[in-house]
């Protein structure tokens, strides 16, 4: 943990230096500072701690059936974890659904371990059931690090999910008329000093999709993609998306397919 604190201190120092930097250089300096910090943590991303506990959860028998998740099929066959995250979301014949990682994990917990998915769906993101999901997501995503994102909707349900995701992306609602596209539908814009990835494009989609789950330095939390989307909808002033609901999977499919061909950088690290 020492390395983490030193890293955070270094990050704060960089931020403080940036705050006094000349106005015109502000954006670039902030960006470089964050990138330098990410670089410095290359082999010390606190997400590693979550990967380790996720691996333990994956391999330890649990639930009424006292089974581990090691026979879970994430799309590449039972038990294959390496590279699986880079090819999600995808269609699964056994559930007849398009699933992202977290909804697929719930399926495996139910079928292999005999667990009731409901408490996992309903728990808040900081409660123990979600901590399990996030640790598992960290572990599994780490097994796709540096793999090419390969999500090419072929099955009719995958294509339908992509179209639903695209519509969701542009769907305006709520008191502020916001859609995902309000912030992520233009190239090169930012909110405050935060750069906004342009999700309809390949590079932007990869920036948005390919680095989650991620460790967030500012909050000291590990966030899964489902948590990331949940907070987007909060800021959009929408009602709360149900955990692993189709709207979240559709958006994930839209992002992942747009990002296809780019590189997975999971688990990521964010400021």
């Amino acid at each position: 943990m020492d390395r983490v604190s030193v890293g955070i201190a270094a990050f704060l120092a960089v931020s403080a230096a940036v705050a006094t930097a000349a106005y015109a250089q502000q954006k670039d300096a902030a960006q470089e500072g964050i990138e330098a910090y990410r670089e410095a943590l290359q082999d010390g991303n606190p997400a590693e701690l979550f990967e380790l506990s996720g691996e333990e959860l994956w391999k330890t028998p649990a639930g009424p059936k006292k089974a581990s998740l090691e026979k879970c099929d994430l799309g590449l066959g039972p038990g294959v974890v390496k590279g699986a995250y880079a090819q999600l979301p995808r269609y699964f014949a056994d559930t007849d659904r398009v699933q992202d990682l977290e909804s697929r994990l719930l399926t495996c917990m139910e079928t292999l371990q005999g667990k009731d998915p409901k408490p996992y769906v309903e728990a808040s993101f900081t409660a123990p059931p979600k901590e399990e999901m996030i640790a598992l997501a960290a572990y599994i995503s780490g097994q796709s690090k540096d793999d090419p994102i390969t999500v090419k909707p072929k099955h009719p349900k995958e294509q339908a999910m992509y179209d639903l995701g695209k519509r969701m992306f542009y769907y305006q609602g709520g008191p502020y008329d916001f859609a995902c596209a309000t912030c992520h539908g233009q190239e090169g814009t930012r909110i405050r000093l935060q750069d906004l990835p342009y999700i309809p494009g390949q590079k932007g989609a990869a920036a948005g999709w390919g680095s989650w789950p991620a460790y967030r330095v500012s909050s000291g939390q590990m966030w899964s993609m489902q948590w990331r989307l949940n907070d987007c909808f909060r800021q959009q002033r929408f009602p709360e998306p149900v955990y692993t609901s189709d709207a979240t999977i559709a958006l994930s499919m839209y992002m992942a397919a747009n990002a296809s061909g780019e590189t997975m950088k999971t688990p990521g690290i964010k400021r």
Binding site: R167, G173, G185, E240
Partner: protein, 221 residues
């Protein structure tokens, strides 16, 4: 409920805007075979009430529905429809009740800084922020600003303070869709995000000669 009623009133305004409305209806052009029912089912099953953010926020008014297909909304064929939507939004604008445009720019700066309000973690009854710096450059000393909207540096200094200019700025803040049907800017007055006094403070931030927005010492763009 208040929100729903506002939508109902707004729809009525749209319907009165002219018989051409129903004839020029732009289909939700997500390609032939777009499955609207599937999308509606997905929305209904995917969201739940949380705090002040209820699922009725997913019910679109005509402006939101029109702008949710950006390609169709921006097409030349939809030009007339855009004008109708702008006119209907303009008709919602309530002008200052006492005829005074400007409040206190210092209060305006606080409102512009605040991004609070209307999320499921916000409490009912607390005043909302304006979210202005999220998207606009305003005071030259505030370097943390967004770029989704244009820079507003020197707003009043460049435009002057005649009645017409004030009116345009007020309408833009009160209901941004009155000038541009699918503007990214929230309709602060129309949607009840900001009250009349808050809008006056923001107007002062834009127009008061002593406001930092109009200061001469700002860094060059």
């Amino acid at each position: 409920m208040k929100h729903a009623m506002k939508h109902a009133a707004f729809l009525a305004v749209l319907l009165l805007a002219g018989p051409a409305l129903s004839e020029t209806k732009v289909a939700p052009s997500w390609g032939p075979g777009a499955d609207d029912a599937a999308f509606t089912r997905m929305l209904a099953a995917s969201f739940k009430d949380k705090g002040i953010a209820k699922v009725d926020r997913l019910t679109q008014d005509e402006t939101q529905a029109f702008c949710s297909d950006p390609e169709a909304a921006a097409s030349p064929a939809a030009a007339e429809r855009r004008r109708q939507i702008e006119a209907a939004n303009m008709a919602t604008v309530k002008w200052p009740s006492d005829g005074k445009w400007l409040g206190d720019w210092k209060e305006g700066e606080k409102i512009a800084q605040s991004g609070r309000g209307n999320t499921w973690t916000d409490k009912p009854g607390e005043p909302n922020g304006g979210n202005c710096y999220n998207c606009h450059q305003l005071s030259p000393t505030e370097i943390s600003y967004g770029t989704i909207g244009p820079s507003l540096l020197q707003y009043g200094a460049l435009r002057g303070r005649d009645e017409e200019t004030m009116k345009a700025a007020w309408a833009k803040i009160y209901n941004a869709k009155s000038a541009n049907a699918c503007s990214n800017m929230p309709r602060a007055g129309h949607m009840g995000i900001l009250g009349e006094t808050q809008i006056k403070h923001l107007m002062a931030l834009l127009f008061d000669p002593n406001s930092p927005v109009n200061s001469k010492s700002g860094p060059a763009q």
